[in-house]
Symmetry: C2
Subunit: 363 residues, 2 copies
């Protein structure tokens, strides 16, 4: 299992520079590092001084790097989909569609990138994977996929099982499937088998993203007001997908009292004005210390209390709703449906307050 | 119908500043302008000096502004989906899922933003809509939706009609639909009615994006090598979704011979180092002149020639493939399936060359 590290901040603050410096430092300390760039232009190459491609390459001892290209990743994934279809269907039809024809729709970049990271992680070849996203809002959407998709599947499979359409279809499913499927399973078997595998993958992903020993983010900013505003927003938004923010890296400036106060709950480091990778690397924090930074979500079953860390937001920017058994926190243009343990599930909210950057809910 | 304008460039080059200056100038010239920000943080507000929200507000004479929030837009769209379901199904089930529960998955931001722009356009209230995306790669994915989705629907409806699954299902569709649907239509009617509406919307979108009187993009860059590399990449990538790039805006620098040569096919303007909106606005080009910039795609049926404008790429970065009747150009991490007129459709590629930033295909 790799430690997956990413950097969040406004465009132009030096996120990619920090990612490269971090990769070089960790590699020099003997960790096997993979640097993953999601920037499809040659901008990242100019910083790195190496021309990357969709095939990963070793650029220094212990340090490999790759540029993700969605067109390539989609082609590979499409072949897997076609193989799966061929296994299950007597006469597969997708074989007539070629991966080389498929264009990229919004959302595919993030889904394909997360899948690529998952595969690099599972390869066991890397101690650290550093992901440099082209945009931090999109990076948060990407790391939110397991949690969000898991919720949609849970919620809608429940709704669909109660639906007239599904009830009306079910007597027809058995004869139809046996007519077209290449396997002897009943629809129940097939369903549970294929969904179990997908569910497992999503649940593992969700567990990894919420574990700061597995995945951590660090904020990067300059002293520019717009850059600081974006960093603060990203800090709060990361909590909404259970992603721990380990600290703040202030680029090319001294740490002022104001900055230290604004980001009081996490360690703040600063980088000197230099393009020397060694000096930059030495100024970076120890990323494994992310485990000591505030956890996005703490649930105390005995006390019936849920604590949600939501820095960077005012009380007015946070909304709590409860529908049936769902407890939903809305902030940072994301909705977080909190999965409660059995002892708290279904209980009504007795009270909620927003204090010291925490939303504290009593059940 | 509005003129839709967007700015493409690396993060931090001043895209939002240019968008605001453009909006203010056009409004002062008497055009009714809507400024749409996709930045969910307060960073855009700091530049504008106004606190925006999901409800549009008039901030100056002729100038309104709005901050898109996907959580809000999804809630509104979900209500429409539920109404549609209630119209067609005897006992709708989606009514039990509330818009306030729904989280945001990758891709939703772009789909919801494009739909919002479409609705603002159709309202007839604005002469110009300026869209400031949070990230330019995502902006291109967004404007590519109509073309890409249209292709997927065309391609897969053809494949599915040949599929065993669909053939096996079709005798069951009539009895099932009449059992659960709230309307008397046959499955064919229903299918053609609902798909026609969606297809029309996509085709109108595709037509608008490829018409520089309707939609145009301008590049923004500084003299930083990484910013220039990103601008060049975005220039080429925009052509892949048939989006015309009207010109380049160089922020806070004099136009060098080198820059003028690198972007020779489009007009280059430059902005002074000032935060005065009036001076910035005066230095901006006339955006309606985008019609005079190179067209992404020119098809000469008589000569059997297809010309694709692909600036910023080398010959090695462009790939042309033909499968069956599909002609696909791959460049800029996107695949463009070229829709040929009936006289050229199905013809084999006789030759192709890459010359002066054009891919010239002979059929």
């Amino acid at each position: 299992m790799s430690f997956i590290l990413t950097f969040l901040g406004k465009g132009g603050v030096g996120r990619s520079t920090v990612a490269i410096a971090a990769a070089k430092r960790l590699a020099s300390q003997g960790e096997r590092v993979l640097l993953v760039s999601a920037d499809p232009s040659s901008s990242f190459d100019l910083l790195l001084g190496v021309s990357l491609s969709q095939e990963k390459q070793e650029i220094e001892t212990n340090l490999s790097a790759v540029q993700l290209r969605s067109t390539h990743l989609l082609e590979v994934s499409w072949e897997q989909v076609k193989q799966l279809e061929a296994e299950y269907l007597r006469s597969p039809t997708l074989k007539n569609v070629y991966g080389q024809e498929l264009g990229i729709l919004p959302g595919m970049d993030e889904a394909l990138a997360l899948n690529a990271i998952r595969e690099y992680d599972q390869s066991g070849k890397y101690d650290v994977i550093i992901y440099d996203g082209a945009n931090s809002f999109a990076t948060l959407r990407m790391f939110g996929i397991p949690e969000m998709l898991n919720w949609y599947i849970r919620r809608f499979s429940q709704v669909l099982s109660e639906s007239d359409v599904v009830k009306a279809l079910s007597p027809f499913i058995q004869p139809i499937t046996s007519a077209i499927l290449n396997v002897g399973w009943s629809s129940d078997d097939l369903n549970s088998n294929s969904t179990t595998k997908a569910n497992q993958m999503l649940e593992e992903g969700q567990k990894a993203v919420s574990d700061p020993r597995r995945v951590a983010a660090y904020l990067v900013t300059t002293t520019e007001p717009t850059a600081k505003a974006t960093a603060k927003y990203l800090w709060g938004s990361a909590q909404q997908i259970n992603l721990t923010v380990g600290g703040l890296i202030l680029n090319q400036a001294e740490i002022s009292e104001e900055i230290a106060a604004e980001f009081a709950q996490i360690p703040v480091s600063n980088l000197p004005k230099t393009s020397d990778w060694l000096s930059l690397g030495q100024a970076l924090p120890d990323f494994r210390q992310a485990v000591n930074s505030p956890k996005p979500l703490t649930i105390d079953s005995a006390k019936g209390q849920v604590k949600v860390f939501l820095p960077g937001f005012t009380k007015q920017q946070v909304k709590l709703t409860q529908y049936g058994t769902e407890l939903t926190v809305e902030a940072g243009d994301q909705r977080h449906n909190i999965y409660l343990p059995p002892t708290l599930k279904g209980k009504s909210v007795k009270g909620a307050k927003f204090q010291d950057n925490y939303l504290i809910i009593s059940l």
